[in-house]
């Protein structure tokens, strides 16, 4: 009786409607009706979501489940080493290892002969306070996308903190050159679309080494492309600001290069250590990258 009533109830009918017709489109329609927002923009977001999920999810399903990188937490005693190891022969999913290693060698050579020197020249040529201002400025520009990803993950507090950082630093911090907000104790965590996907249970998929960019995974690289796609300072697919070239392409390239140099400068010591200490830098970077991403998704 009760089940019959429930089946007839409005909630059930609406819920099943959502499921059948595709909850995303339903939500989009509802939002458009409520806010009179531009339908095509909403549609664009939905399509990007759908494409990303469609391209990434099947590969996730097919891929062997990637075991947690921090799995040794499960040990109870030293005797468990043995039984455990037979279960976890392949803990890292790297089906393209051969190809990845080639790209890695290419990146490594490019770095040793060129990019590392650029980063070192940057470190030695420009004083620390100026570098800090550049870093703050670049970081500030990345905050809006990060805040949107926070919302998508339902982390409202972090999203607000990120937005406040962006607003405070853009205004009082003179266009983001000074990180006033963090000095005042408004801390936030960076979120990107790879993390958003991870938050909703998408595994990292296959490990990838991307030319010039370095370690990534099928999920994170897809996420990175999405972030750059919607970012007004990237390809601006959402046409925020009304046109695709909100910022002239020359500036965009300059910003991308600058953030690359800034990033490399921040990694100078770590990369030096890995090159010096590791018996297999490719494996060290792979393991560290996967652990770092997992940690970022978990918190």
């Amino acid at each position: 009786m009760r089940i019959g009533l429930f089946l007839k109830s409005r909630i059930f009918i609406r819920a099943s409607c959502f499921v059948v017709r595709g909850s995303w489109f339903k939500i989009t329609e509802a939002r458009c009706a409520m806010h009179g927002a531009r339908k095509d923009t909403e549609f664009c977001v939905t399509t990007i979501f759908a494409i990303i999920l469609l391209t990434i999810s099947p590969s996730q399903l097919l891929a062997k489940e990637v075991k947690s990188a921090m799995y040794y937490q499960r040990f109870e005693s030293e005797e468990e080493f043995e039984s455990y190891e037979s279960d976890n022969e392949q803990e890292i999913h790297d089906p393209y290892e051969k190809f990845n290693r080639k790209i890695y060698s290419f990146n490594d050579a490019f770095d040793r002969y060129f990019f590392e020197h650029v980063a070192k020249a940057y470190r030695h040529g420009i004083p620390q306070p100026a570098r800090k201002i550049i870093r703050n400025f670049l970081n500030n520009l990345s905050l809006p996308v990060s805040a949107v990803n926070s919302i998508l993950q339902g982390k409202i507090d972090n999203s607000l903190a990120t937005f406040s950082n962006f607003i405070i630093n853009t205004t009082i911090g003179l266009g983001g050159m000074f990180d006033i907000a963090v000095q005042k104790g408004i801390f936030y965590k960076h979120e990107d679309f790879g993390q958003t996907l991870g938050h909703y249970g998408v595994g990292s998929g296959a490990y990838l080494v991307v030319p010039f960019l370095g370690p990534s995974s099928s999920r994170d690289f897809g996420g990175w492309l999405t972030d750059r796609g919607v970012d007004p300072l990237g390809f601006n697919l959402l046409e925020i600001g009304g046109k695709t070239d909100l910022v002239e392409s020359n500036y965009r390239i300059a910003l991308a290069l600058m953030s690359g140099i800034d990033k490399r400068e921040s990694l100078l010591d770590i990369v030096d250590d890995v090159r010096k200490d590791s018996f297999d830098p490719y494996a060290t970077i792979r393991s560290a990258y996967l652990q770092k991403r997992e940690n970022e998704i978990k918190n």
Partner: protein, 208 residues
């Protein structure tokens, strides 16, 4: 009859309450012990790294002495060898275990520049199975953003020992295991052990 059962129940509940509170008290005191243990080591290292009058060679020696006394090098050696432990023969195992200790302390001892900071604090200690995880924060000298560093600690024969060091979510021994396994898979165990021996020799001689 009914009263009897109730009495029994009450008695059992009472006993459970006593034992669990005792166990909890023990756990709490153990967690506190781990907290102090990690905080003392962390501060010792930060202090040595920040000493201005001490020469680099002396700093290196001091930090090696601190690390050497508090890590369970045998456990870690066993862990980082991973699946290769099973296929290795006794001689290889022993050789690796001996080399690994020297490799660890001589690799991480000289990195005192990385440990130079303003503050080291343990925020929280959690029990995870037979381990304790001390969640700590380290504030480098030239930054306002603290780095999260976790220590995995285990009690062995009444003594606390460090098993792992996890900086910003990246576990030292997990990364090392991945690296060693990959190196062994490519070149074989004996070649890897030779490389390791050579590295240790180089590390030791570079400090003198």
């Amino acid at each position: 009859m009914k009263l009897k059962i109730n009495m029994k129940k009450i008695l059992v509940a009472f006993l459970i309450a006593i034992f669990s509170s005792q166990a909890m008290a023990q756990e709490v005191s153990k967690a506190k012990e781990v907290d102090e243990f990690v905080e003392i080591i962390g501060n010792k290292i930060v202090k040595v790294a920040g000493e201005k009058a001490t020469s680099d060679a002396k700093k290196r020696e001091k930090i090696i002495a601190i690390i050497d006394g508090v890590i369970d090098a045998n456990w870690i050696a066993r862990f980082v060898l991973g699946k290769n432990y099973k296929t290795a023969n006794d001689e290889q195992r022993q050789r690796f275990t001996a080399l690994y200790r020297d490799f660890m302390i001589n690799t991480y001892g000289p990195k005192f520049k990385n440990y130079d900071g303003k503050k080291f604090t343990v925020n929280e200690v959690k029990q995870q199975g037979s381990f304790y995880v001390a969640k700590a924060e380290f504030l480098p000298r030239e930054s306002n953003v603290p780095i999260s560093v976790d220590f995995r600690v285990k009690e062995k024969n009444g003594k606390l020992l460090i098993l792992d060091f996890i900086a910003e979510g990246i576990s030292l021994i997990e990364t090392q295991r991945s690296e060693f396994n990959s190196a062994i898979a490519q070149n074989g165990m004996d070649k890897f052990l030779d490389d390791l021996a050579e590295r240790v020799k180089k590390l030791k001689s570079s400090g003198k």
